[in-house]
């Protein structure tokens, strides 16, 4: 087993489904332990899909889904997985899960499949998914792992949605495809080409990290 796996405090038998300890699994990754801005994971997808709000939303929902279910499956299997091959086992489970969803969508919801299929590679290689499996699901019970997956997914989602908001607004004057700049009186809004390129994501992300860390006082050791 990884030495970095956190063993959460052992829960009492009668712990409520949303005890304080469990709430922290969901709320911590939103700010204090955010996967993108604090752990700096999942940066590549944060750059790739955040030029517009709509694809970002699709990516956010897909990652939340995959995080929850891969955490659940790995957590159920955690006592059987041999330590020395755990990474490849995690990868196999994540890749299978994502491919399964893709196949089902292809048969029953072809339009959604067409939208999502470009994200498949990005989801499988998203470091947050593997990171949570490695750091949490391998050492914790299924229900706690589901909550952890939900928390990390939401933490990732709000950051990439925030980045996408600024990139789409400055890059093309729109929000969710709606011409916001035009609507508030900037008829001839000059789009900023830098925001559309990946560099724009770095700059916006940098600002978000700056603001967040000056508020939380988090320092890199």
């Amino acid at each position: 087993m990884s030495t970095e796996t956190i063993e959460a405090p052992v829960a009492k038998e009668s712990e409520s489904l949303l005890s304080k300890r469990r709430k922290k699994f969901v709320t911590d990754p939103l700010n204090d332990d955010n996967p993108v801005t604090v752990q700096v994971l999942g940066i590549c997808s944060a750059l790739a899909v955040t030029t517009q709000m709509k694809p970002t939303m699709v990516m956010a929902m897909s990652v939340i889904f995959v995080l929850i279910f891969s955490n659940l499956i790995i957590s159920l299997m955690r006592n059987a997985i041999p330590g020395r091959v755990r990474i490849i086992v995690q990868l196999a489970v994540v890749a299978t899960l994502v491919t399964l969803v893709n196949e089902v969508l292809k048969a029953y919801a072809f339009d959604i499949y067409k939208q999502l299929s470009v994200f498949i590679g990005l989801i499988i290689t998203n470091c947050i998914v593997m990171g949570r499996l490695e750091a949490f699901a391998l050492g914790n019970k299924p229900y706690d792992s589901v909550l952890d997956g939900l928390g990390s997914g939401l933490g990732y989602s709000w950051i990439i949605l925030a980045v996408a908001f600024f990139r789409e607004l400055w890059g093309s004057g729109k929000v969710f495809g709606y011409d916001l700049m035009g609507a508030i009186g900037f008829e001839n809004f000059a789009a900023n080409g830098l925001m559309v390129s990946p560099v724009g994501a770095f700059i916006v992300l940098g600002f978000i990290i700056w603001v967040q860390r000056s508020k939380t006082g988090y320092v890199e050791h």
Binding site: Q52, A92, Y108, K114, V118, A191, G193
Partner: protein
């Protein structure tokens, strides 16, 4: 927890077998449904090259789309020299909808089959031709609807396998596809020049002229792929057009 090598090998083997069976089973089981969905999607794209049809498609059920397709589209298959082909490799009847453009793309141009879809509804006629090429990351393809005189574009539908969402993937949006409507394939000297997408976005219409369309910011490489694809494929069909259309009186649905 240190397991024996035996356990690790057995675990890996059984996991591989379980996952492989699961994936293979799902893929096999869903195969027919997926093919049906794929066929429907192709027909939607062919119809979608006509702007008025595309609007109607949004509110139609699968059966209605298939019925509409049967009603307004007739098709033929041509070879590179412009001769019509009636039988496929297996000796059965050649069906334009079954010609796999992607597989044909891998053959040399002279050996490819070129399906032509003819649209005829409410007095409006069009030739719809498939196109296929390479975007930035993976395949891109589309259907172009040409006016009966073959000089300009009525509409276009574009699709892709793996272009970047929000950048190159924008070729699937109505916003981008509408830019091709009413553009001309020939320049003022009557030379075939196809239609090209320029670099950069928000170019004024006056600077574009009849042979160019506005670009997509941040997706110039995908745009280049679309440009090459249109130039190549519309070019390939010129022999068919010369032999079967321009040479004859315009009797579109008599063949």
């Amino acid at each position: 927890m240190q397991q024996s090598n035996r356990y690790i090998i057995l675990f890996s083997l059984s996991l591989t077998i379980v996952l492989a069976l699961l994936l293979a089973g799902v893929s096999q089981g869903l195969g027919p449904l997926q093919k049906k969905a794929q066929d429907l999607d192709t027909k939607k794209q062919i119809l979608g090259a006509i702007p008025s049809e595309k609007e109607a498609l949004a509110d139609m059920e699968a059966e209605q789309i298939l019925a509409r397709y049967e009603e307004v589209i007739s098709s033929v298959v041509s070879d590179f020299q412009g001769n019509l082909v009636d039988t496929n490799e297996k000796g059965g009847p050649m069906v334009a909808e079954e010609v796999n453009i992607e597989k044909n793309y891998k053959k040399s141009v002279e050996d490819r089959m070129f399906p032509v879809f003819k649209y005829n509804a409410n007095g409006q006629e069009a030739y719809i031709i498939p196109t296929f090429g390479a975007g930035l990351w993976d395949a891109i393809w589309g259907f172009v609807a040409l006016t009966p005189d073959l000089k300009s574009v009525i509409g276009i539908s574009l699709d892709h396998k793996g272009e970047t969402p929000g950048l190159g993937a924008r070729i699937t949006t109505d916003e981008i596809q509408a830019r091709y409507q009413q553009k001309d394939l020939y320049d003022t000297n009557g030379e075939f020049v196809s239609i090209s997408m320029v670099k950069g976005e928000k170019t004024p219409e006056s600077m574009l002229g009849p042979n160019k369309v506005d670009g997509m910011a941040g997706a110039t490489l995908t745009a280049n792929g679309v440009n090459d694809m249109l130039l190549n494929y519309i070019g390939y069909y010129q022999k068919y057009f010369d032999k079967q259309v321009r040479g004859k009186a315009l009797t579109m649905n008599n063949q």
